[in-house]
């Protein structure tokens, strides 16, 4: 099911509405490696199936197979990328129709893949970073008895995410979306023998479900409004749709994205998700899962461009989460939770960028790509530290690790440079572009992004100083050691990405030119002249770093968190009371509601049904007495009946 030509006219420009200007090419026409697109998803699926069905027989070599397969996907992705780069711009959107999937009347959703510039970026990120995390996991999970199961789930995760970004219609995307949710549930709760892990997995699953309802409602609305759920047809029909419909679709899509990307107000699951093994956290935060929300919004840019309300909500959600996540990251002592807060904040940046419209979509994806590299690097380094410290995650018991874990320190430092916005590394470019675009479009978003940049530098320096500098605060019996090469090599490879990805993608690969056909791109003039804005950003970042360094590297860090602290710190330590809020606003009333419903069900509904049943029962008991087995009483009833009939005749005669 491919539309031969969808060359919609160029947009008016002033509205900022972007039409897909690339014509669709089928994989068969495109030739080359494109017909092999399905291999991207099939390879990790094979891994998951073999490992899960093969059972214990695959224990010895299962993890190797599961690592080779995503690498195979990565190789296919590289071949596709090379071919796509060789193709002219209007032939870069390639679809592959695999089979007819769901057809019912007007409704059709084929199992078709769509590879374009945007999907390509994601595919490279997912398979590339995903493969490195697989390699790393070989070392990290070496002593875990359930390593095979872990790798099976990892493969499933990668496959689901690939399906999500390669789907040609929203319904197929939904399949990948749910697959990601399932895999994250399995992996967060991987150490299910721990109560906290099981609860965290459940929490993640349930909160994701809230977002998923948004996506399913959005799909239904799309079908009602546009009569189709394929990307091409939806985007083509979007300009003709009414404002209300577009706003509703935009908001429900945003709800979906908020759930999956752990944005305000559905952010609470992300910090608890740290209960999973560290490679899972890296995978969730860098390559899969939380990036899905950003993908959904950027993919649906044709809808968001047409609805000011929806796009404003995206911006607002982004600003709130960006600042909230950064503040939480500053106060957490658990290294992984601090990084999780940082992820919330960085994804918030992406939402801010996406909320800016065509000025920002490109940079949302650019920052996502950078974030994928430096956050994976940071998580893997953090995992290496945790591995060396015998599963201690509290940074108050770290300190001075630079002497014993030099490679890990280098990798973490690279991630630090990448995220903090220090020139000329990753975030310096991606974050700067977002701040610039924000300053040019919405001054509040710009100021918030600037502030968040400072806080980012603060919490990253805090983490760096508490972990690797200062004095030893180790618990007794801890003998930190460097991790094996199978773990450090992926870390170092990601470090390279975290350091030089920004330069490469902005200046060598020209990401805004690459993505422009899909997302549109409109450069804006920032309110503050560009060089001054750059200097201002750098100053704010430097202030953040210096403050944190003075506090956490120059002074001794107490092992017990200080109690005499500001209200904000207390709030941030409690993740800004998100759990308390959810409990008070949703959980308690929900419980009361269910309790009342149970009571109502027991008393009123069951009461009515049971009452009726007992009445009928009693009536039956009465009837039973008539059937007493005495022939003469039967005869009496016959006589009675006959007399009655006779009486009726007589009475009828009289009248």
């Amino acid at each position: 099911m491919t539309i031969p030509s969808l060359a919609a006219p160029l947009s008016e420009g002033s509205e900022g509405a972007v039409e897909p200007i690339t014509a669709t090419v089928t994989a068969a026409d495109a030739g080359g490696y494109f017909p092999l697109m399905w291999l991207l998803i099939a390879l990790p699926v094979i891994g998951a199936v073999v490992l899960l069905i093969g059972g214990r027989r695959t224990n010895r070599w299962g993890h190797l197979l599961a690592t080779v397969l995503p690498i195979g996907s990565f190789v296919v992705a590289c071949l596709l990328l090379v071919q796509m780069m060789g193709a002219p711009v209007d032939e870069r959107l390639v679809t592959l129709h695999l089979w007819d999937w769901t057809f019912a009347g007007m409704f059709e959703a084929p199992f078709a893949l769509r590879l374009d510039q945007l999907s390509m970026v994601f595919v490279m990120l997912i398979t590339g970073v995903g493969s490195l995390i697989h390699v790393y996991s070989i070392g990290y999970m070496a002593h875990d008895p359930d390593r095979r199961k872990f790798f099976a789930y990892l493969n499933l995760f990668v496959a689901a995410m690939l399906l999500l970004v390669l789907a040609d219609n929203y319904l197929l995307l939904y399949v990948g979306w749910e697959g990601v949710g399932l895999a994250s549930y399995l992996l967060i709760g991987f150490w299910q023998q721990r109560d906290t892990a099981a609860v965290a997995a459940k929490k993640a699953f349930v909160m994701n479900r809230v977002g998923d309802v948004g996506l399913s409602v959005a799909i239904m609305l799309m079908f009602i409004t546009f009569g189709s759920v394929t990307f091409d047809q939806v985007f083509e029909a979007a300009p003709q749709a009414g404002d209300t419909a577009l706003t509703l679709i935009g908001l429900t899509l945003l709800l979906a994205a908020v759930g999956k990307s752990a944005q305000f107000p559905l952010q609470a699951w992300l910090l608890d998700a740290m209960e999973g093994p560290t490679p899972v956290s890296a995978l969730i935060h860098a390559a899969t899962m939380v990036t899905a929300g950003v993908y959904l919004i950027v993919r649906s840019n044709a809808i968001f461009d047409l609805s000011t309300t929806a796009v404003t909500f995206v911006l607002a959600v982004g600003i709130v989460t960006m600042l909230a996540g950064a503040v939480i990251a500053c106060a957490k002592d658990d290294i992984k939770k601090s990084l999780a807060g940082s992820t919330m904040s960085q994804i918030g940046y992406m939402f801010v960028a996406a909320g800016l419209g065509p000025a920002g979509y490109v940079f949302a994806i650019f920052h996502l790509l950078m974030h994928g590299m430096f956050k994976a690097d940071l998580f893997l380094s953090a995992g290496s530290v945790i591995h060396g410290m015998k599963d201690e995650q509290d940074m108050r018991f770290y300190g001075a690790l630079r002497k014993v874990m030099i490679v890990t320190m280098v990798a973490f430092f690279a991630g630090f440079l990448g995220i903090s916005g220090i020139p000329p590394f990753d975030s310096f470019f991606s974050k700067d572009e977002i701040i610039k675009a924000a300053m040019g479009t919405n001054i509040f978003a710009g100021i918030a992004a600037l502030a968040a940049a400072g806080i980012t530098a603060f919490y990253m320096t805090r983490m760096l100083a508490m972990t690797f500098f200062g004095e030893k605060r180790w618990k007794e019996g801890t003998e930190p050691h460097e991790s094996p090469a199978v773990m450090t090599v992926p870390m170092l490879l990601l470090s390279v990405g975290a350091l030089f990805g920004g330069v490469f993608f902005l200046y060598v690969a020209d990401i805004e030119v690459w993505l422009e056909p899909i997302t549109g791109y409109q450069p804006t003039e920032p309110a503050i002249p560009e060089p001054w804005l750059g200097i201002l950003t750098l100053v704010i970042v430097a202030v953040g770093i210096l403050l944190a360094w003075r506090q956490y590297a120059m002074r001794t860090v107490p092992q017990q968190p200080p109690q005499q602290v500001s209200v904000l710190t207390v709030a941030a330590r409690n993740s800004l009371y998100d759990d308390a809020f959810n409990e008070a606003v949703f959980m308690r009333p929900g419980q009361y509601l269910t309790r009342w419903l149970v009571w109502f069900d027991n008393r009123a509904v069951d009461g009515a049904v049971r009452g009726l049943a007992s009445k009928i029962d009693g009536f039956g008991e009465g009837l039973r007495k008539i059937q007493n087995g005495f022939a003469r009483s039967y005869a009496l009833s016959m006589v009675g009946g006959a007399v009655l009939v006779g009486a009726v005749f007589v009475v009828a005669r009289w009248f």
């Binding site: 059937q627 007493n628 087995g629 005495f630 022939a631 003469r632 039967y634 005869a635 009496l636 006589v639």
Partner: protein
């Protein structure tokens, strides 16, 4: 003479038969009461035939007699069989029809 007296007699006999069926326990007596009811009906048929001046009622009375004769044969046989197995002809044996 007034044929309606025969009809009344027939009704009385029928009621007596019915009461006999309802009140007596001995199967033989019940059986005889049934015969009484049948013959009361016959009497009514014949009386009505006389009153209305056609022979239909009389013909039906013959049919009833034939049916009654057949019924006596079958009924007595059943009662005999029951008596042989249970040493009693009481119709109030509750387990006879129940269970």
């Amino acid at each position: 003479m007034d044929p309606s007296a025969y009809v009344i007699l027939s009704a009385v006999l029928f009621s007596l038969g019915g009461l006999g069926v309802l009140l007596r326990r001995n199967a033989i007596v019940v059986f005889m009461s049934v015969e009484l009811m049948l013959n009361a009906a016959n009497l009514a048929f014949v009386s009505f035939a006389r009153m209305h001046g056609n022979l239909d009622g009389q013909v039906i009375a013959f049919f009833v007699m034939i049916v009654a004769a057949a019924e006596v044969v079958v009924g007595l046989a059943i009662i005999m069989t029951i008596f042989r197995t249970r040493r009693s002809v009481s119709v109030d044996e509750p387990h006879l029809l129940r269970n």
